[in-house]
């Protein structure tokens, strides 16, 4: 049942791109929350916490996403939970995002001058209050452009979820290719959709970068 690649197929791909975006957003939300904790553990003046955070970041950044994806995909069932590709993918990409964001955000936290820590300490703020009211608000501004830049990596890497059968943009492309045997048209369309998403994010990141340097 071979048919031509047509407008309906483009629509099909665009709809599948929703899942690429949803997976990205879920990973960003969960990964972001974890990243905040890891980034703080990375900088607190308590060595074992620093080591824990460094170990976590290195473990995630030192292994391929594909491997992590399969470990969670099969690992959950080893422990008796039969979860689908979506759960495995969200877990993997949340962990992936948490390690990279933690490293990015740590840089932002550490770029706030030491004198800000000192002057807030001199006012009687405890460690967490200094972080919460003085350091993090200043780091957020610095961190926004690289965080948006990281989103590009995340969007692109969610394509790997196709390997465990999660139907997002890339997987939808493979399915279409099997039906139409028009690989060039299908994959160029898929690439174009990724490009629109990622290029917009890249540009946004660059523009924010420029603005950060002029604004307060």
């Amino acid at each position: 049942m071979i048919r031509e690649f047509g407008f309906d197929d483009v629509l099909f791909l665009l709809l599948a791109a929703r899942w690429t975006i949803l997976l990205t957003l879920a990973a960003m939300a969960i990964g972001g929350a974890v990243a905040l904790v890891v980034a703080i553990l990375r900088i607190v003046p308590f060595r074992p916490a620093n080591w824990l955070a460094i170990g976590y970041i290195n473990l995630v950044q030192g292994t391929p996403i594909l491997g992590q994806l399969f470990i969670f995909f099969f690992g959950f069932s080893v422990f008796g939970w039969n979860v689908g590709a979506w759960t495995a993918a969200v877990t993997t990409f949340s962990i992936y995002a948490s390690a990279y964001l933690a490293e990015i955000w740590r840089g932002g936290l550490q770029s706030v001058p030491k004198t800000q820590w000192e002057s807030s300490a001199a006012l009687g703020l405890n460690y967490l209050q200094r972080l919460r009211y003085v350091i993090i608000p200043q780091a957020v501004r610095i961190n926004i452009p690289p965080t948006v830049g990281f989103l590009v990596q995340l969007v692109k890497n969610t394509s790997l979820a196709s390997v465990i059968g999660f139907v997002e943009l890339s997987r939808a492309g493979q399915m279409l290719n099997n039906a139409t045997f028009a690989p060039m048209a299908v994959y160029l369309t898929v690439a174009a959709i990724y490009f629109v998403i990622c290029f917009s994010l890249s540009r946004a990141s660059q523009r924010l970068e420029g603005r950060i340097h002029v604004a307060r």
């Binding site: 030192g62 399969f70 290719n177 890249s202």
Partner: protein, 223 residues
Amino acid sequence: MNYSFRFSSLLAYRDEIIEGLLLTLQLSAATILIGLVIGVVIAALRTGGPGPLRSIATVYVETIRNTPLLVQLFIIFFGLPSLGLRFTANEAALIGLSINLGAYSAEIIRAGIESVRKSQIEAGHALGLNGYQVFRHVVLFQALKAIYPALTSQFILLMLMTSIVSTIGANELFHQASFIDSRTFRSFEVYTAITLIYLGLTLLFRGVFAAIYWCVFVRRPAR
């Protein structure tokens, strides 16, 4: 949990694992060489090339950096044959990875060139060095030193990304994992073990890159 882990069943496949490991290393090394050459050329075009070439270089970098490697590989391996260009899986893998790394390293190299150019070139000229001498003695060494960390991180990322070429059937390490998986049905153990082997490779690469850095930039005084 009534699952019993059996990592030992993997031992029967150590030949396959070693074979995959070697191909991963070869693929990584070849990609780094080719990708670096592409990166230097593209960076040169983007910083000082003639208008049209500069635009082409920019389009190349932006296109590659804003689309997934997986889709790039699909286009090369499944798409190009419809235009009469046929590659084996391993060839397609090398082409795809090199094109990909070329775009990323071009950006890193360009940033390096620009960071040095602003501050140092005038100082070099002021000392009476000519254009080539300034490039050779002032720009090159400092730019290399400045970009070395970012570039080598990118190489490690590349090494990890070689696993993705398993999706088109290139028989590197990760492909061997799915082969062993299909024989043993020990999926969890197989992928855990293979993933840890990649961790080992990451540490190995870091060690080698740190050693090179030490030999080139630390021990030898900057000229």
